[in-house]
């Protein structure tokens, strides 16, 4: 990331490179991988051979980190795979607006207002309830390949 780009708050188009190549054999469970153009978390890796005396290949099962869809891929283990650059940033939650957006406080004191709340009822209520109770909440925002989403929530209020 160059300095100029760093001034823009929108992470969506910031990534100098959104993915990095990495040898398939080195990708482990719990790592990240791009499958069919989507950033995934690897939940299963297995290896097999192409033919009896052929080379090893890796079979990945990944879960899309944004949509939770399951994706699979097979890659020869000495070839390269794309690995997404997954970034996570913490912001303090300032407000939840009526139209489904959140207002977040950035590190340098500005606000970030372009992030939507999750549409899933369950996740939504977890955020709204905590905020409604007046807790001091920090949200972690995960961004990768031009998308971003709230991925975790933490109560930092005084005990």
């Amino acid at each position: 990331m160059s300095d100029e780009e760093h001034h823009f708050e929108s992470k969506a188009d910031a990534g100098a490179s959104k993915t990095y190549p990495q040898q398939a054999g080195t990708i482990r469970k719990n790592g990240y991988i791009v499958i069919k153009g989507r950033p995934c978390k690897v939940v299963e890796v297995s290896t097999s051979k192409t033919g009896k005396h052929g080379h090893a290949k890796c079979h990945f099962v990944g879960i899309d980190i944004f949509t939770a869809k399951k994706l699979e891929d097979i890659v020869p283990s000495s070839h390269n795979c794309d690995v997404p650059h997954v970034n996570r940033t913490d912001y303090q939650l300032i407000d939840i607006s009526e139209d489904g957006f959140v207002s977040l406080l950035t590190e340098n004191g500005n606000t970030k207002d372009d992030l939507r709340l999750p549409t899933d009822e369950n996740l939504l209520s977890q955020i709204k309830d905590g905020f409604g109770e007046g807790k001091d909440l920090v949200v972690s925002v995960m961004s990768a390949m031009g998308e971003e989403q709230i991925c975790a929530l933490k109560d930092i209020g005084p005990k």
Binding site: T19, Q23, K41, K49, H53, G54, A56, S78, R88, C151
Partner: protein, 1156 residues
């Protein structure tokens, strides 16, 4: 039971109709819930006997009768204690009479049920009934079995005994809600007093119908009786004989076979041995009983063409099974006449069943033509059973008297036929030849596995050696053929997965056979190898067919098994057969094993050539090469054994020659030039597999874990490693080569561990430490530079950086886990210099759980290896670091909730958390151990470090992170509670000083643990409680404060009085003991905890006891409870001190108390 009046009759009929309706509607699936409720209520009604008997006698619906019988069983078992003796007897005789009267009824399952109810009730009352009463029942049964009342009743009688025996046999008995002792008493009593009688009855019944069966040409009803009798005899011989076999020590058979039947012998595991003891000799052996059985089966064989008989008809199957059971007969039943009687017995059996398997080619052909294979398989099983009870020599001799060849030859030809059949059939499914091969392989294993260290007794007689040699040659041929034919079906993944380890078992049986004829096997393998090597050489430059690669692959596996044993953590010896057989072959370089090994190593060396590697050495072949080298080098390479010469006991000529060959064999690859040369080749091959086979994880795993890891286990090999250029190259590449960063991170960890291990083999410790600094320097620099970068926070999330950091952390962990006393210093410095980077990484990667976990594991491994050696100052540094780490981790994770749409990602997140916490608990446990094991020169207190406080503080940080959900992971739960109870047991004084919040937290957890499912957890909590209470009691007894305010209770801010903790636990422990179901294993530890609690809180205990009594309304129970409570504290001279004796007395009291 009196006849019902008219009113009663109507009611009985109503019940019967209700039950019949319920049964039919269940069958038709109409309103099943209501129907089930009806049947359940029948079973749970008190005293339903009259109704049930009425149904049994009158109902037209068989299922209703079945249900009625089941209801009788349930009710009688439940109410047994209340029934009067007459009722008990009449229930049983009702059942018996019922089955006898209805013996010809077509609904067999109702009869079977009623007869099993009778058997169960008989067992339930077994210890109450007098001998006369039992006699009466059995008389009735005996009459039936004698056949006076006809065939059907005879069958029923035998059948009843079958259910009775199965009820009394511990593995098949049904539950009765009674203690184990009851079942054991019944077991014992039946075995001693009745089993043999039953056997005689069954035999007589079978004999009485034999003639009818043999004479008739079609199926006759007598077959049913005979079959049942054979089944009963088989069942009785399956009995786990306990009481007869070892009762007379003097008569223990000295027949050598007996010695090998210890339960821990590996040979006994496959086959159950039948050892009824000398009391059975007359029935089983001397009565000519076996002759009758064999002739019965021979007669049946003649009839297989007749109507109603065939090779798998029930009576034939039962007869064969019984014959098999006789083959397994052994032990003191035979006279101690040097095995003569046993041999005669086996010979009789063998000549009876030899036709099943001999001549092998005819048998095999007729099976291929469609004959059922079961008789032949039973023949193989019989051979296995006989092999299990004899030595190879006796086994071979057995057949000599009836055939011109020995049994080993027969075994070998039979197996050859089976293998030929196997080669012919190319199907995937399990054919008869598969099954037969496995049984026969087991037979060879049973014969050849040495059962004592000398191994001498399982040497084969000369004829057997030839047989084994022929067989091995055919086996190898068939394996090679199987390989090439398997290739024609395109790759099926299953076969690939079952690679080396899955074939292990079969291969090790092959190896046993090969070692039986070692002088043939080794040259054969050498020849087969060299043929293929030549073919590979000639074909240079063309693409090789996979066939030949696969053949070499299989040969490598077979050769590996033949020449060397699996070490299983120990250094394996050269196999005994190899040591002894080549005794005459003193010239080392002509020793067949050396010739074979050298040719394989020369072949392996070719993989270093890049061009050949691409052509020949596929990853799969390389796996076999690495596997062979690992296994071979473990036994032969620089073997540590010192050859002792002139040992007085072994100075015979043969022994001397033997020693010399062994010496020649081992010295050839010893620490001389040849050995170092081979070591160098092995190391260079390892480098190649690690660097030139990118992404081949399996191969690299084998190299790291099996080959290299095994090499550095030997100190004397380590000494040579660093003198080799190749090893130094490996170390250099590890620090500098990018390609090694592409290895699986776990393999990098193992490599780091291996390298550090090997450094400790250097001659002086300074050199070792220096060497380690070189090895680990790059990790320290790399992490230091990364974490020191200004923009590290920004670039840290890039995948390449994450990969780099993960690799370094894994390598650090590997190095840390290889810490040894002499290299401890260097490893300590390693950790010290990455402390700050580690904390920076923890901060930066707080969201990257995979990195955090690696980091924690490194710290755990490092602290664990170091803590015992640290001086006071160093300890303070380490402790401080650990606390900062804990606090940082906690601040990141406390109150954090993961949000994700995917449930599997959420559960992954939970698992990651669990693993983190487990690592943290391990870290605390390691710290804890400092107080127990400490090699430092000064006491740590000089620096003011109090380990107990540190660990409490750590626990205080960690505990809030552990949620109830996480405690569902058994390992975490276990770790957590064992740490907690350890702390409370060892440092109760520190607990006393905790502030009330921290204290409350610990107690809350203890309280939770007391009600946990897992008895081990409860046990640990009870131990902790005991420690707390006895600490308080002892302290206050000597005038100190003990737990002080925590014990006496405090006013909380709201002005409510909070009970002291000891009274709270007295409450909950009594609650647990009195009203809840708990495992009997816990009684002792509960007693240990209860006693000090009661002593501390005498007043409360009295009050609680009184309350308990007042709440009890039933006067009898009330007085029993009062007595029990009274005797709990006042019997057995219990005093109010906390010494060992007193604890023991109290334990007894509590155990007694439980019975009230």
């Amino acid at each position: 039971m009196q006849g019902p009046g008219s009113n009663g009759l109507a009611q009985l009929q109503a019940t019967m109709h209700a039950v019949e309706l319920a049964c039919t509607s269940i069958q038709m699936h109409i309103n099943p819930a209501a129907a089930e409720a009806t049947l359940l209520s029948l079973r749970s009604t008190p005293q339903p006997y009259q109704a049930c008997q009425f149904i049994l006698e009158n109902s037209q619906v068989p299922i209703a009768r079945f249900q009625a019988a089941a209801a009788i069983r349930d009710a009688a078992i439940r109410e047994w204690g209340f029934l009067i003796a007459d009722d008990k007897r009449s229930l049983i005789s009702f059942c018996l009479c019922f089955v006898m009267q209805h013996a010809s009824s077509p609904e067999g399952y109702v009869l079977a049920k009623v007869s099993s109810v009778a058997a169960q009730l008989m067992k339930r009352g077994w210890l109450d009934f007098t001998a006369v009463e039992k006699e009466a029942f059995f008389n009735q049964v005996n009459q039936a079995i004698l056949g006076i009342h006809g065939i059907d009743v005879q069958f029923i009688g035998v059948n009843f005994l079958e259910s009775l025996v199965s009820e009394f046999s511990p593995s098949t008995s049904s539950a009765m809600g009674l203690p184990r002792e009851f079942h054991e008493q019944c077991w014992r009593s039946l075995e001693i007093d009745f089993l043999k009688t039953f056997y005689t009855w069954a035999r007589n019944a079978a004999i009485s119908v034999t003639n009818r069966i043999i004479e008739s040409n079609s199926e006759v009803p007598e077959v049913k009786v005979c079959n049942a009798a054979l089944r009963l005899m088989l069942q009785i011989l399956n009995w786990d004989f306990r009481y007869n076999s070892n009762s007379t020590k003097s008569s223990i058979n000295v027949f050598s076979a007996v010695a090998r039947h210890d339960t821990d012998s590996p040979r006994g595991s496959e086959c159950t041995l039948v050892q009824p003891g000398p009391a059975w000799r007359d029935v089983l052996i001397s009565s000519g009983h076996i002759g009758w059985l064999l002739s019965l089966y021979a007669a049946l064989r003649q009839k297989f063409s007749c109507e109603g008989y065939w090779i798998d008809c029930p009576i034939a199957v039962s007869a064969r099974k019984l014959i098999l059971q006789f083959c397994s007969l052994t032990g003191t039943i035979f006279l101690s006449d040097n095995g003569k009687m046993h041999e005669h017995h086996l010979l009789q059996l063998l000549s009876g069943m030899i036709d099943w398997i001999d001549p092998p080619d005819t048998v095999s052909k007729s099976i291929e033509c469609g004959k059922s294979e079961s008789e032949m398989l039973d023949g193989c099983r019989a051979l296995l059973a006989i092999a299990n009870v004899t030595t190879p020599f006796v086994f071979d001799q057995l057949l000599k008297s009836i055939r011109p060849f020995g049994a080993l030859t027969l075994l070998s030809t039979l197996m050859c036929e089976v293998i030929k059949a196997l080669m012919m059939s190319n199907t995937e499914e399990e054919t008869w030849s598969w099954v037969a091969r496995d049984i026969l392989l087991d037979t060879w294993t049973a014969l050849l596995v040495p059962f004592d260290s000398s191994g001498g007794k399982s040497m084969l007689p000369p004829e057997g050696v030839n047989a084994a040699g022929n067989l091995f040659a055919l086996i190898v041929e068939s394996e090679l053929k199987a390989v090439s034919s398997a290739l024609t079906d395109d790759d099926d993944d299953d076969y690939l997965h079952t690679s080396i380890s899955a074939m292990d078992e079969r291969l090790s049986s092959y190896a046993l056979i090969a070692r039986g004829a070692i002088h043939v096997a080794i040259p054969l393998l050498t020849r087969l190898f060299s043929e293929r090597f030549v073919r590979l050489d000639q074909g240079r430059g063309v693409i090789y067919p996979t066939e030949i690669l696969e053949e070499v692959y299989s040969l490598l596996l077979i050769a590996g098994h033949v020449v060397a044993d699996e070490g299983e953590g120990e250094t394996p010896l050269v196999p005994y057969a190899i040591q002894t057989y080549f005794a005459d072959n003193i010239e080392a370089d002509k020793h067949p094993v050396i010739v074979l090994s050298s040719s394989i190593i020369r072949f392996a060396e070719k993989s270093l050539d890049a061009e050949l590697r691409a052509l020949v050495f596929s990853p799969r072949l390389m796996e076999a090469v690495v596997w062979f080298l690992a296994r071979w080098s473990h036994t032969y390479l620089m073997h540590p054994e010192e050859i002792k010469e002139g040992n007085s006991a072994h100075d015979q000529d043969h022994q001397l020659r033997l020693l010399q060959t062994r010496k020649g064999l081992l010295n050839f690859f010893g620490e001389g030039i040849q050995g170092r040369l081979v070591l160098d080749i092995i190391v260079r091959i390892s480098i190649t597999t690690l660097m030139s086979y990118p992404g081949e994880k399996n191969l690299q795993a084998l190299t790291c874990y099996r080959l290299l890891h095994a090499l550095v286990q030997h100190k004397h090999i380590c000494v040579h490693l660093f003198s080799l250029d190749s090893w130094r190259n490996l170390a250099h590449a590890f620090a500098n080569e990018k390609s090694l960063l592409l290895l699986n991170t776990a393999h990098q960890r193992s490599l780091a561990q291996t390298l550090v291990h090997s450094a400790s083999g250097l001659m002086n410790s300074d050199a070792s430490n220096l060497c380690i600094r070189d090895l680990v320097g790059h990790m320290v620099t790399c992490l230091g530079e990364l974490s020191g970068k200004d923009d590290f926070k920004i670039v840290a999330q890039q995948p390449d950086i994450i990969l780099m950091v993960s690799c370094m952390l894994e390598r650090l962990r590997g190095a840390a886990s290889a810490s040894e006393p002499r290299t401890q210093k260097a490893i300590y410095e390693l950790g010290l210099s990455v402390m700050n980077p580690v904390l920076v990484l923890l901060e930066v990667y707080k969201h990257e759980s995979a990195v955090v976990y690696l980091l924690l594991k490194f710290v755990v491994a490092w602290v664990n290896g170091q803590i015992a050696f640290l001086e006071a100052g160093e300890t303070a540094v380490v402790v401080d670091f650990c606390m900062r780490l804990l606090q940082l981790y906690s601040s990141h994770n406390i109150g954090k909730i993961s949000l994700s749409l995917s449930s599997s990602l959420l559960s992954e997140a939970k698992t990651e958390k669990y693993k983190d916490l487990r690592a943290l608990l391990q870290l605390l446990s390691s710290l804890c151990s400092k107080d127990l094991i400490d090699f430092s020169s000064d006491s740590i207190e000089t620096q003011g470090t109090d380990i107990s406080q540190v660990v409490y503080f750590g626990l205080h940080i960690v505990t809030p992170l552990i949620s109830l959900d996480l405690l569902k992971y058994p390992k975490l739960c276990h770790d957590f509670f064992s740490l907690l109870s350890h702390l409370l047991e060892v440092y109760p004084d520190t607990v006393a000083q905790l502030n009330s919040e921290a204290f409350a937290h610990i107690l809350g957890t203890l309280d939770f643990g007391l009600h946990h499912q897992d008895t081990e957890v409860v046990d640990m909590c009870l131990r902790a409680l005991k420690a707390l209470a006895s600490y308080h009691y002892n302290e206050t007894g000597s005038g100190r404060t003990g737990l002080g305010l925590h014990a006496s209770g405090i006013m909380d801010p709201g002005g409510n009085f909070q009970e002291g903790i000891l009274s709270r636990f007295l409450h909950s422990l009594l609650q647990l003991l009195l009203f809840e179901d708990y495992s009997p294993d816990l009684v002792s530890s509960a007693a240990d905890a209860l006693l000090p609690l009661i002593l501390c809180e005498q007043g409360l205990y009295q009050r609680l006891g009184k309350e308990l009594l007042e709440r009890q309304t039933n006067p009898t129970l009330k007085s029993r409870l009062a007595n029990a409570l009274e005797s709990l504290t006042s019997t057995n001279q219990l005093s109010s001190t906390l010494d060992r004796i007193n604890y023991q007395r109290f334990r007894k009291n509590l155990i007694w108390y439980r019975r009230f």
